[in-house]
Amino acid sequence: MTTVTEIGAASSVWRFALVGTPNSGKTALFNALTGSRQKVANYPGVTVERKSGVFRTASGHRVNLVDLPGTYSLRGRSPDEEITRDAVLGRIANETAPDLLLCVADATNLRVALRLVIELKRVGRPMLLVLNMIDIARRRGIDIDLDKLSAELGVPVVTSTAVRRGGTDELLRRLDDMAAGAVGQSHESTWKTPTTAELRAAQREADRVIKVAVGEPKRPDTITGRVDGVLLHPVAGLLILLCLLFVMFQAVFAWAEPVMDLIEAGFDALGAFAHDALPEGLLQSFIQNGVISGVGSVIVFLPQILILFLFILLLEDLGYMARAAFLMDRIMGGAGLHGRAFIPLLSSFACAIPGIMATRVIDDRRDRLTTILVAPLMTCSARIPVYTLIISAFIPNTQVWGFVGLQGLVMFGLYAIGILSALGVSFVANHLFVRDGGTPPFMLELPDYKLPRLRSVAMGLYTRATMFLYRAGTTIFSMMMLIWFLASFPRPPLGATQPAIDYSLAAIIGKWLEPVLSPVGFNWQINVALIPGMAAREVAVASLGTVYAIEGGKDAAEQIGQALASKWSLATALALLAWYIFAPQCAATLAVIKRETGGWRWMFVTFFYMLTLAYIAAFITYHTAVALGWG
């Protein structure tokens, strides 16, 4: 073997990479070391992209750390595993291979992890094995002889507890001694795709090492087994899953209300202040109607979005997501979806973008494509503002069956239609895509349950909140400027008898679209709101606010909902709800589909099939409602 000296080794910043099996706590370790805000969750396949951050070792040496998607081997059988393979082997353009591989293993579950370590040794990079979650291993009475383990594997070993304060101190100390000598001591890689015989031999070797260095747990985890007895029960398990989803959506509606009222009152006060502080005219209208009420009408939905993410983050960290995939596999299989698609699809309830990115854990290309196509049908949080607005304006807040709110029930129904149509579309897609073999396999590790860490959940929520506010400040804000401009210009002629907006560009565009959209019950104001709504769904709410506020003077701006209730028929409102279940109104989602499928084709397919469904659904809803006398 020849020793390769690289230019990178001489530089003052070390480049380390975190590698390991799914669910070994790589991302938790990454967060503990770099303090970077990034998603940690307790199910296989959370890290779908490489993330990097910077930290310092105990002696202050700067390290650039890359967090790689979890993998069982370097074979790269799905897009996320390919990222790990290419990064470890230094195949990524303009990037050298990492100076050191930090191989992370769950100390309570070493068998599969050690097989990966044995495979990684062939890559020839300096390596350090980090036994993470060592606290849990100790609690279970698993004796690990670190010296023996290190000697048998030929790799230095260090322990850590990424989620505890001070849990990485020893790792930081050891990195100095170790890295100083090891960095730059890389050998030529002898890695090639392992054959089944090589994999077997590696697993046998790993089992031998475990026999020598690791004891049986004296107090094995019994909680996971007992909890699974209920949560994976064929009947109770499914009922609990359904109840969980139901409670989740009821909570989104009920818990958020007090906070939303507060935010609304705050923006109203701000708008009134701007109105009083500024002279009558264009600038006053722009600040009050365009900026404050526009951005405010979107930010008011932050509490609902955070509650939804809170549920998803808690379930992920708990380890429930893999169980949900287990329970749903056959049910989704009936619709032609892979059990693994459940996790991306559930994430799509929050936002289709992370959902579509999470499909990288699906190795079969056809399965992955089907999941990407239907992910935007799952009711994302950006639809919540539109749904909430229309439901609270048109659906009476009464109780049905004594305990369920009718508004919450309608909301649940909208989610249910989204899910059912996703299943329907994937069923059709599955019959259109010709398969050359049987169904691809479903194999998934069910991790032990872990209590969610407050810090990890808080970090996840913080990331979501900042992302949403950033969007509100950029995309949504600029769309609001556009809609305000369209609604305000040209100015009405002197002596105009109609409201000002009737003379504006917005009215011209909206009326121009009328022949197409009036069959589904939309008036020109809705048509106008749909245009900026193509950039982001939630913008439509603010746009309607702007359109109606400008039309009716400042009094109408106070309650968009009241304005709508007085101007729309119930049939129109229901048609708009039906439209929103399907309409492809999110530029960012379409961009992600183009990126993830590698071309325009599937982006256009998604756009047109969703648009067609939206039109048909709104058409049917409108005419049914009119026939029922709600027109």
């Binding site: 069982y72 081997s73 074979r75 059988r77 309570t108 579950n109 068998r111 599969v112 097989r115 392992p194 089944t196 994999l199 077997r200 697993q203 046998r204 089992d207 747990p217 996971t224 087994g225 699974d228 007895g229 994976l232 029960h233 064929p234 009947v235 398990g237 499914l238 893999a322 995939a325 287990f326 329970l327 596999d329 056959r330 049910i331 059990g339 190795d363 079969d364 056809r366 398969r435 050359d436 073999g437 049987g438 169904t439 691809p440 396999p441 479903f442 194999m443 998934l444 590790e445 069910l446 991790p447 032990d448």
Partner: protein, 93 residues
């Protein structure tokens, strides 16, 4: 694929895919013979990567709600969910 020729064991061995909840045993061989979208050697590799190798202890912990499928299998100290189709490739005694 691996056949160590233990004829006495061969008579008793059954595919894990046919076993009931509560079944406890040891893996005798991995022999993939299922119609799948991926090649047999690939399924074998994936099974091995999840720890299904000859000699490993297995126990069926849970069964899915429809057609008792998929199954949750304890392999030594890990729990893996897989469908009965693929579990047919795992021969156990």
């Amino acid at each position: 694929m691996t056949d160590d020729g233990a004829s006495a064991a061969a008579e008793e061995r059954t595919p894990l895919g046919l076993a009931q909840r509560g079944f406890c045993g040891r893996i005798e061989a991995i022999a993939v013979d299922v119609d799948s979208a991926v090649p047999a050697s690939e399924i074998e590799r994936r099974l091995i990567e999840l720890g299904f190798v000859e000699g490993a202890r297995v126990e069926i912990l849970h069964e899915g709600p429809i057609g008792r499928d998929p199954i949750a299998v304890r392999v030594n100290d890990t729990t893996i969910a897989l469908r009965r189709r693929e579990a047919m490739a795992i021969l156990v005694i």
